[in-house]
């Protein structure tokens, strides 16, 4: 098991926990942040898997823009999951 | 050929991009752009027929021969469907000219044009991923158009649609991922050639994913929950286009996957059973509806069930019947929708009970609706009769007597609820008198075209059958499709 392999395993654990957190948490803002974490780790994955183009796109669109769109939507509606 | 068939997709896209600029000059221009562009598409698809009937026309894009680049593969089937799509699109675009749209009107015309362009792209393209992209164009414009009218429950219907549609497009993407993993290609003909070398279990998984994906647009039974709401909440012309065009693109995708790409015998029985369930469920639900547009939506699902039964026969005659039924449905359902839209507008209510006595006050509209109802029931000598007869007789000939009988039961239920509406139109007294409003000339003109075509096809079905025969052959016998793509190298 090399260094990169250990990092990938840690990242995967964080990814799964973040995804579960998106589903479980009652606070929508937290859920959106957790989903941004999922996108960020996906972006790191893409970089490790030799896809820098996709990593850049995921970072700009998945981590950046969609998070912002979700945040705006929550501002326009409500924050708590009833 | 004097033109390149890629113009049928490129020009509408260019026009849609330019509409915001044109709108600055005059608010009137955007209304006429779809009419012009779709008329041009109609002309192109007619001009293309003599070529595609001989052998599929392969259009290379960006100068890369398949499988390297994307290419359009326009066989008889694709061409006939493109013709139907541009014809219905053109007629509805004429109807649109005087249709009262809320602001921002130019966005409505843009979305409408792109909806039809997406469907055209789905039937013309010869590349799996490209098909997915065009399907997304179709469905995203459909989502937006469903919610277009603000004071209705459009947003709710659209959310339902976007939820089912979003999952289905993910399924298609997964299916594409599996197919690409094992065949290493995305070209439809190339996949069809290579699929036989991969493990059937894996091919089955990919096929299930793709059936679920295309099944949403083609309204197969468990996946059609979005349809009644979307049909009834969208603006009338859009409802007409859903029934006339979007469904056709979905069924084409499904048929292309099952017939050309995969070769599982068993799946056709499954398709037939699903078609039967779809038909019976939909006709029974249609019977119970009190709103006319919802009734038409369920009837549309039922018709698709009949098409699926015919496709499930997997014989040439059966596929011919399915295509003929699709053509008839594409002509008649918009007619019913457009006339029902005006009837709803005049009576001021969506309910069937409030249409009493419209036959006297709105003779033209009521005639159009009644004509459409008779044609879709399959009354001879109208066009619906021939296609239903082909499907039923072919089902019996292949030994599926029970299925044929149940399909007939479905047709009878259909006749009952259509006659109920027609009866109300003509044989009931209306209770109050509303203010008089005019039917717009463009709407009458659009509906007359559809009536005329229905009569002509009903009287001379062979006129159409000569084109449907090669189209059916293309599906049943896939070697020609595959060979023509590779002949280009």
């Amino acid at each position: 098991m090399d260094f990169l392999g250990i990092i990938v395993i840690i990242l995967t654990l964080i990814l799964i926990l973040a995804a579960l957190f998106v589903i479980k948490t009652k606070d929508l803002v937290t859920a959106v942040v957790a989903s941004a974490v999922v996108s960020l780790i996906a972006s790191i994955y893409f970089y490790i898997l030799q896809a820098p183009d996709v990593a850049l796109t995921e970072a700009a669109i998945g981590v950046g823009l969609s998070t912002i769109i979700f945040m705006i939507t929550i501002r326009k509606t409500r924050r708590d999951e009833e | 050929m004097i033109f390149d068939p890629v113009l049928m997709i490129a020009l509408p896209l260019l026009a849609a991009f330019l509409i915001p600029i044109l709108n600055r000059f005059s608010k009137e221009i955007p209304k006429y752009v779809p009419v012009l562009i779709l008329g041009l598409n109609l002309y192109e698809s007619i001009m293309l027929l003599p070529y595609s009937m001989v052998k599929p026309v392969i259009v290379v894009i960006a100068g890369w021969a398949p499988p390297l680049g994307i290419n359009l593969t326009i066989g008889p089937l694709g061409n006939v469907l493109a013709l139907i799509i541009s014809l219905v699109g053109f007629v509805v675009a004429i109807y649109n000219i005087k249709f009262v749209v809320e602001e921002p009107a130019e966005k409505y015309y843009m979305l409408f044009l792109l909806l039809i362009t997406g469907a055209t792209g789905v039937v013309l393209t010869g590349d799996l991923f490209n098909m997915f992209v065009f399907l997304e164009i179709t469905s995203i414009s459909a989502y937006a158009l469903t919610a277009f009218i603000r004071d209705r429950n459009g947003a709710e219907a659209a959310f339902k649609y976007i939820l089912i549609g979003g999952i289905s497009s993910t399924m298609i993407l997964l299916g594409i991922a599996i197919i690409y993993t094992y065949t290493g290609t995305l070209n439809l003909a190339d996949i069809a050639q290579k699929i036989q070398y991969i493990d059937p279990k894996i091919a089955l998984a990919a096929m299930i994913l793709l059936i679920v994906g295309f099944g949403v647009e083609s309204e197969i039974f468990p996946l059609n929950g979005w349809a009644p709401d979307a049909y009834s909440q969208a603006p009338t012309p859009v409802g007409a286009v859903f029934g006339g065009i979007v469904v056709k693109a979905g069924v084409y995708g499904l048929a292309r996957m099952l017939y050309t790409i995969f070769n599982f015998e068993g799946v056709f029985y499954f398709l037939m059973i699903m078609g039967l369930i779809t038909l019976l469920m939909a006709e029974m639900s249609a019977m119970r509806q009190s709103q006319i547009k919802r009734m038409l939506a369920f009837s549309s699902i039922g018709q698709m069930g009949l098409v699926l039964i015919a496709l499930g026969l997997a014989t040439e005659r059966g596929v011919e019947g399915a295509l003929f039924q699709m053509l008839n449905h594409a002509l008649i359902k918009p007619l019913l929708f457009l006339s029902a839209g005006y009837l709803v507008y005049y009576s001021g209510s969506k309910n069937i009970e409030d249409l009493d006595g419209m036959g006297k006050r709105k003779p033209f509209l009521s005639f159009f609706f009644a004509f459409g109802a008779f044609a879709i029931m399959g009354l001879p000598p109208l066009n619906g009769f021939w296609s239903k007869m082909i499907i039923i007789s072919e089902t019996i000939r292949n030994g599926f007597v029970v299925i044929a009988a149940l399909a007939l039961v479905g047709s009878v239920i259909e006749a009952v609820y259509y006659l109920r509406v027609v009866g109300r139109l003509y044989f009931k007294k209306h209770h109050d008198d509303q203010q008089e409003k005019y039917v717009h000339g463009s709407a009458i003109f659009a509906m007359s075209i559809l009536v005329l075509l229905a009569i002509v096809i009903g009287l001379y079905p062979d006129l159409i059958m000569q084109y449907l025969k090669p189209a059916a052959e293309e599906l049943v016998n896939k070697t020609m499709y595959i060979q023509s793509v590779f002949a280009i190298n």
Binding site: A51, D53, V54, T57, A60, I61, G64, L65, I69, I72, R75, K76 | D4, V6, A10, L13, L14, A16, F17, L18, I19, P20, I21, R24, V59, V60, I61, A62, G63, W64, P67, L68, G69, I70, P104, K107, L111, L114, G121, F129, N130, V133, F134, E136, I137, I140, S141, Y143, A144, F148, A155, I178, T181, Y182, T183, G184, T185, L186, K201, A205
Partner: protein, 228 residues
Amino acid sequence: MRKALAVFFLAILGYYMLAVLLNFPFGIDHLNPELAGAYLRDTVSKTGAANVVTSIVVNYRGFDTLGEVTVLFLAATGMGALLYKGKTMGRSRQNASVIVKAGSRLLFPLIIILGAYVFIHGHLTPGGGFQGGAIIASGFLLMFISYRNYHVNHRILSNVESTAGSIFVIIGLLGLLYGATFLENIMPLGIPNKLFSAGVIPLIYIAVGFKVGAELTALLDTMLKTVK
């Protein structure tokens, strides 16, 4: 009940999907020499682009990208239509602190330049029109957040969108006119790894960059301006 049913269904689904995936070991060499192999082999000599992904996205599968641009255009159009209020509303929010304001004014041009750099160099380095456009839009977002009255002209954005989209299609039509097929490369390929190379790829990516930037900016502005 509902949850148990969902878990049961997903367990079956997951099992089958895992079974399918296990058939395909991770990381083995499986390139189809006719497709992926050919792209890798011939891209530099036949399209002049050093970035193979870019050349696939813009050239080999350029038609997909045209569709992709259309999808984004549709999303922006659809949002504009659905959130249309007749008259535009101001954003209701506080101005940010002086430090944030000064900082974003300083950063804004840098972000725009970075975005432009990303889409102009799409054929040489990772990145391209979509990434560059998204970066530009986030630059505008910074200004929206820090300046209450920061105003973008929707008419200009819509003009940029329309023009850039039309340029994409027109480049394609020129390929049809002067070459043989739609979107065909009609310009000299140049020397790979130079800025002026790869024929029409940079032109298309610049158009895409402008279009995506304008679209996403308009999209964010529309969303921010809808009142609660």
